[in-house]
Symmetry: D2
Subunit: 163 residues, 4 copies
């Protein structure tokens, strides 16, 4: 079984509700729990690179994501990422020409709030990562896009091919 | 966007709890609700062929599944199916050599009971169906198997390559 | 804070889905988890007396429930019970004239399947148990009934006053 | 069956996740859905007075709550309310001496995020409202407090008797 690396960067996926202050925040990733509940039998290694809202992601953060993808032993990689700037990170990765199959995914609803789209997207991303040729991809809503030609429609929240 | 046909046959995916009689039963499929919650943006058409526990599936049922896959216009197909005899149906489909990409999937826990594996597997199956070449496959637990060489380990509930 | 004793006897509340055999079964009670998620701050002690479908409950089981209620130090007691024979157990307890406030409750949907009525009924039963005078009661669907004058309508699943 | 009036004022109970803007907001109350899932069989009438975070509740809002409680035909009332200023509203109601049984309740986790404490507290509040004598009460975490002598510990989020 080809090993898959999962890099966690935060995003809606991992937002939680802080019941003392009544606001959303990041604590630990839910990826381990999601993979367990999904009864996932892949050889997956999860590393948390950062836990940020993707609107707060800096160029340095993106450089770190690119370097982590380059440095890891695996050639098949899934990155969980906030949806707002997922396209920017995808373009940064595409520009780096790493020769690996890299799939970015995310969620519209936090997993902790009973997110159905997070589980669905995670299953989707791990599947595309296993079979797509080297390249950078965005897997959202069941669809897969070339990482260099995708954008999120901010009004509808839907990913689409960039013109 | 390539259209995908989903054939529903029942299985754990769609089992519900009958609160009057305290037992499990089948009513309607949850596929539509699952696709909606997953915010799926694929062009998917869902048809219910039958609603049975796969242990009760007959040869006639399997013949009907094969014929439905042959007859539909789509060349990319996902079949939701009970896990107990999923391998048998996969072999029947493989034997029919339909020249389509057909992915069988299922769940260990009913969706109505908060199934995480159902949503994960559905995301996985719809993704494999989009990119794999013509053939019959089983997508379970994040993995994908050739339909002619897969079996379920009845003691652990895990799918594995058949010897 | 008046201490409350919770006696667990099984019933729909605690049914789980056996994913290997595809059927419902009993393992451990979910009461501890339910109280934790409900952030319950009462002084509650939980004891499991038995884990049975109430249709399988024997006279010996009922005698044991009565004796446990008599023997415990607490004067305020909640009993989780299958709904099918909850009225019979309530009558057995009422006949024993224990001089304690005893509230039976249950659920129509197993907690493990995302039961909303289990959590609602548990909150209800623990509240009635704190304030009602000595006697035996059934708390279901937000309502409270005298234990000696209640029955379940088997066709609708609804509890009502017995004629 | 004594009719119960439920007044909705917002609070954590009814917060939702806005998937386009990634923040919490109020839309419609979840009370109807909660009562339905709880299979509640009480005669309950739900009115939404306002949908606000209780930190934003004004004196005019509190006056409106008091007047609504005075004006309604029912003598048994449940109010869903944000936890942060629930004690203030309880004191305002207690000062009005309405001669009705009024129970305030809330949740630490939004219902839409799979809140267990919301359902538990709702079951609890509706039960206390049926049996407690005229007065103002706060029902949280299974406990009930006199409305004139309760406060929320802001560091732990727990309600306790005010000194």
């Amino acid at each position: 079984m080809t090993p898959i690396r999962v890099f966690v960067t935060g995003g809606t996926f991992d937002k939680e509700y802080d019941e003392i202050h009544g606001r959303l925040f990041f604590k630990d990733t839910h990826l381990h729990e999601m993979l367990r509940l999904a009864r996932c039998r892949l050889s997956v290694d999860v590393s948390t690179l950062m836990m940020v809202d993707s609107l707060d992601m800096t160029d340095a953060d993106r450089a770190r994501i690119v370097e982590s993808c380059r440095a890891c032993a695996e050639t098949r990689i899934v990155i969980t990422h906030g949806t707002d700037t997922m396209s920017e990170t995808a373009r940064a990765l595409a520009g780096a020409r790493l020769g690996k199959s890299i799939v970015l995914t995310g969620a519209m609803i936090p997993y902790a709030f009973g997110s159905s789209d997070g589980l669905f997207n995670l299953g989707s991303a791990l599947s595309f990562a296993q079979v797509l040729p080297p390249g950078v991809y965005v897997a959202m809503n069941g669809r897969v896009f070339a990482g260099s030609r995708v954008r999120k429609d901010r009004t509808t929240g839907v990913f689409e091919e960039a013109p």
